[in-house]
């Protein structure tokens, strides 16, 4: 409910600059993809987007530290972050949905299963199986083999679950006022995030170098990389967020009773963690 002191910023140049930078980035990306030129344009745009985000968030931090925000503003941020994470859930849901559809319907139908059986006529010799090592058309080379879930993926699972625990400890420490403990456990979380990214990088290298799992390797490669890839991007972003939070803790930001910036980054990190558990089960194990 409105309390009469809601902070409405007067004007800001970051929104318009941010949309222009995003536009430049997209134009550059399109030029690179379509005409194989314009990579510098994309980079200028990307740097612009990052710079605007940094400066915009800087304004928010300054306003927050300056005490301009009341409890109602705090709730606006909470609703905003919560719904943003819901939109991210739906983004991953599209990719999980694609994976489930392909495994439950598309590939078995290509193998001749189902009431219609029409798509089974396209490649009569194709035998449905998963992981799909031999795609229907011989022109598409499938992966030679797939990862065992019980090696690097398991290690990464343990790393991410541990990082959620360390982050919770850091949060509890902040709430109790043990700022140094908080800082140490938060630093540990960031390190675990970096370990995860490194191991994922190793796995991608292995995929291309030894396993034949590539973007071109039929639907297995496609679903594998779009799911793990977007998750990896989210881990990188999450790690950067936590690193910024670590710096702010170091600078003495965040009161022990009121620290939504900290909590929001925790929400995001836990969300990324949960997505990974889904990935581990449905991409690697099953």
């Amino acid at each position: 409910m409105s309390g009469g002191s809601y902070y409405v910023p007067a004007t800001s140049r970051w929104p318009i600059l941010g949309s222009l930078a995003l536009g430049v980035m997209m134009v550059g990306t399109g030029m690179k993809l379509v005409y194989d030129t314009g990579l510098p344009v994309a980079f200028v745009g990307l740097i612009g987007v990052i710079a605007v985000m940094g400066l915009w968030f800087r304004d928010v931090v300054i306003e927050s530290q300056g005490g301009l925000y009341d409890a109602q503003m705090d709730r606006s941020f909470r609703w905003g972050m919560g719904w943003f994470i819901f939109s991210e859930v739906m983004f991953f849901a599209a990719f999980f949905g694609a994976l489930f559809y392909v495994r439950m319907f598309a590939v078995p139908w290509l193998g001749g299963e189902g009431a219609k059986g029409v798509s089974g006529l396209l490649w009569p010799d194709f035998v449905a199986h998963w992981p799909l090592l031999n795609p229907p058309d011989a022109a598409v080379a499938g992966p030679q083999q797939v990862f065992s879930p019980w090696q690097l993926p398991l290690v990464n699972t343990l790393i991410l679950i541990t990082s959620s625990i360390t982050l919770t400890i850091a949060h509890e420490a902040l709430k109790e006022g043990y700022r140094k403990t908080c800082r140490n456990w938060l630093a540990g979380t960031v390190l675990l995030g970096i370990c995860f990214i490194f191991i994922q990088g190793v796995e991608y290298y292995e995929a291309y170098a030894h396993y034949g799992i590539t973007l071109e390797a039929g639907i297995f490669g496609a679903t594998f990389f779009i799911l793990t890839g977007f998750h990896g991007v989210h881990v990188i972003v999450g790690t950067l967020i936590l690193a910024v939070i670590l710096m702010r803790i170091h600078k003495g930001h965040f009161a022990h009773e009121n620290h939504f910036g900290f909590e929001a980054s925790c929400w995001y990190w836990h969300f990324v963690d949960v997505v990974w558990v889904g990935l581990f089960i449905f991409v690697y194990v099953l």
Partner: protein, 544 residues
């Protein structure tokens, strides 16, 4: 009441009375163009959205007129088939993403804070960002028309593999433009949800909110739920086109039908995104001009929620002929028909609100009444299309085109126009010129029916959509449709004229511009000062 944080420093937005407008300590907004580029004010951003949408409405309309000019008579006259396909595609994309959706967002920006007694949107800078992404996105999208190979030519539904394997090179730019527009929609929707849930005047419960606010709350939920799915599916297209993946290619184990499932999982809630706020506008206007409270307020809210939930369970009714298993055909047929129940509740309530009311027929009411009648026609043709075995006959014919234009033009767009005429006195302080507005109404209602009603017959007779030439037996229907389209298109210039005249002057409007209006926006002066409700109003519970 929430406890305050540290003592409040002297902000430029101090607590002052509502009515004295700009008279108190606000920093003067920057002058000239910068004011519009940098603004964080919900009213200014709302105006930007509405102006942008109006411009795009005419651009999309010109594309439609190119289509109708080519279809005026059989044979190929004016444009080649490749360009014709680009015109149908761009007409659909521009009207859906750049005209109708931003118009509703603009109305939301203007009216939601006024209707719930909030000082502004919850996240004002994000609000500005959401808007300025749109010109960027649609400049990029329109620029694809000038690229080698032409713009998108695969229909606004961009089915794979037409939009992947067989698409023009500019498709990558189309995807990137749509990504920007999607970010805009998601951020805008998050802002609206946060505003409605967090910024209501003290004492206003959820079930006290005007229906426009309710419908937007549910619409925003739909946007947050499905725009990311659109982002996902166009990302898969991008990968298929540029990185050799096989999402929509059966040779690698993917499936083009997967595209359709993902697209319509987004697409069906999307069509309700374009109609639910219209329900809200009509639910505000009919009680005002019938001078009676809305009949069945609670059932209206539940009906909108039911429509929204069902919209996640009906997507494959767009795919009845793609080769679905029988169980899926039946499931999606029945769920689709179920939507008629809550929609019927709404139409019943509007009609019952009119029953024994003291009705007057000002321009907003005329558009709202036309909405109820003509949207219902579109609803019934939707019910016909929902019958799977019948759809085998109608599918991809002009009957479908007639159906969705009936729900979108005299549905969504008439509601937007009704809303504009209804709230113009609040925005400008002047009544729109009633005589011109009524001419605009009658021209529009005649033009719409001339254009789209014959399409039912052409479709039932078997004329396929998205084809630049047709057999001779469809000539009469197409002749009428084309004449109607040019009549409708031209008469929209009257709409611009009325708006321009109203901004420049006209009969002065009091705070409560319409006799029967009850919501909070009618308690602030007309025109509404730049800043309103900085001290939250005390909400008086009216009898809904």
């Amino acid at each position: 009441m929430a406890p305050k944080l540290p003592p409040q420093p002297p902000l430029q937005h101090s607590t002052t009375a509502v009515a004295d407008g700009q008279a108190h300590g606000h920093a003067a907004p920057p002058k000239g163009i910068l004011r519009w580029l940098l603004t964080t004010n919900h009213k200014e951003i709302g105006s930007l959205y509405l102006i942008f949408s109006l411009i795009m409405f005419f651009i999309g309309g010109i594309f439609a007129l190119v289509v109708r000019a080519e279809l005026f008579q059989p044979g190929l006259q004016l444009v080649n088939p490749e360009f014709f396909n680009q015109m149908t595609t761009m007409h659909g994309l521009i009207m859906v993403f750049a005209a109708v959706m931003p118009a509703f967002t603009g109305l939301a920006n203007w009216m939601i804070p006024l209707q719930i007694g909030a000082p502004d949107m919850a996240l004002p800078r994000l609000n500005n960002f959401s808007f300025w992404l749109l010109p960027v996105a649609f400049t990029l999208l329109l620029s694809t028309l000038l690229m080698p190979g032409g713009g998108p030519n695969f229909g606004w539904t961009f089915y794979a593999p037409l939009s992947t394997t067989y698409a023009p090179p500019s498709t990558t730019f189309f995807i990137l433009a749509l990504h920007i527009a999607g970010i805009s929609s998601i951020l805008g929707a998050i802002n609206i949800v946060a505003t409605i849930l967090n910024m209501r005047a003290p004492g206003m419960r959820l079930m006290d909110m005007p229906l426009f606010v309710w419908t937007w709350l549910i619409t925003a939920f739909l946007l947050i739920a499905v725009m990311p799915v659109l982002a996902g599916v166009i990302t898969m297209m991008l990968m298929d086109i540029n990185f050799g993946t096989s999402f929509f290619d059966a040779a690698g184990g993917g499936d083009p039908v997967l595209f359709q499932h993902l697209f319509w999982f987004f697409g069906h809630p999307e069509v309700y995104i374009m109609i639910l706020p219209a329900f809200g506008i009509v639910s505000a206007i009919i009680p005002t001009f019938a001078r009676k409270p809305l009949f069945g307020y609670a059932s209206m809210v539940y009906a909108v929620a039911a429509i929204a939930l069902l919209s996640f369970l009906v997507w494959a009714h767009h795919m009845f002929v793609v080769g679905l298993p029988l169980a899926a055909e039946l499931f999606f047929m029945y769920t689709t028909m179920l939507i008629a129940v809550p929609t019927g509740v709404k139409v019943f309530n509007w009609v019952t609100t009119l029953f024994r009311g003291s009705i007057s027929f000002e321009s907003p009411m005329l558009f709202a009444l036309a909405f109820v009648v003509l949207f219902t026609i579109g609803g019934f043709s939707g019910l016909m299309l929902a019958i799977a075995p019948a759809d085998f006959q109608y599918h991809d014919t002009y009957f479908v085109v007639a159906h969705f234009h009936y729900v979108l033009v005299p549905g969504a767009i008439f509601a937007i126009m009704a809303g504009v005429y209804y709230w113009l006195p609040k925005w400008t302080g002047h009544y729109p010129n009633e005589r011109l507005a009524q001419w605009h109404f009658w021209f529009s209602v005649i033009g719409v029916n001339l254009t789209f009603f014959p399409m039912h017959f052409a479709g039932l007779a078997g004329m396929p959509r998205r084809i630049p030439d047709y057999a001779l037996q469809f000539a009469d229907f197409n002749f009428v449709s084309s004449v109607g389209a040019f009549f409708f298109g031209t008469s929209q210039l009257l709409f611009v004229l009325v708006i321009v005249l109203c901004v420049r002057g006209g009969k002065k409007a009091p705070a409560k511009a319409w006799e029967g209006a009850v919501d909070l926006e009618w308690t602030v002066p007309s025109p509404a000062p730049l800043h309103t409700f900085e001290t939250p109003p005390v909400f008086q519970r009216a009898s809904h």
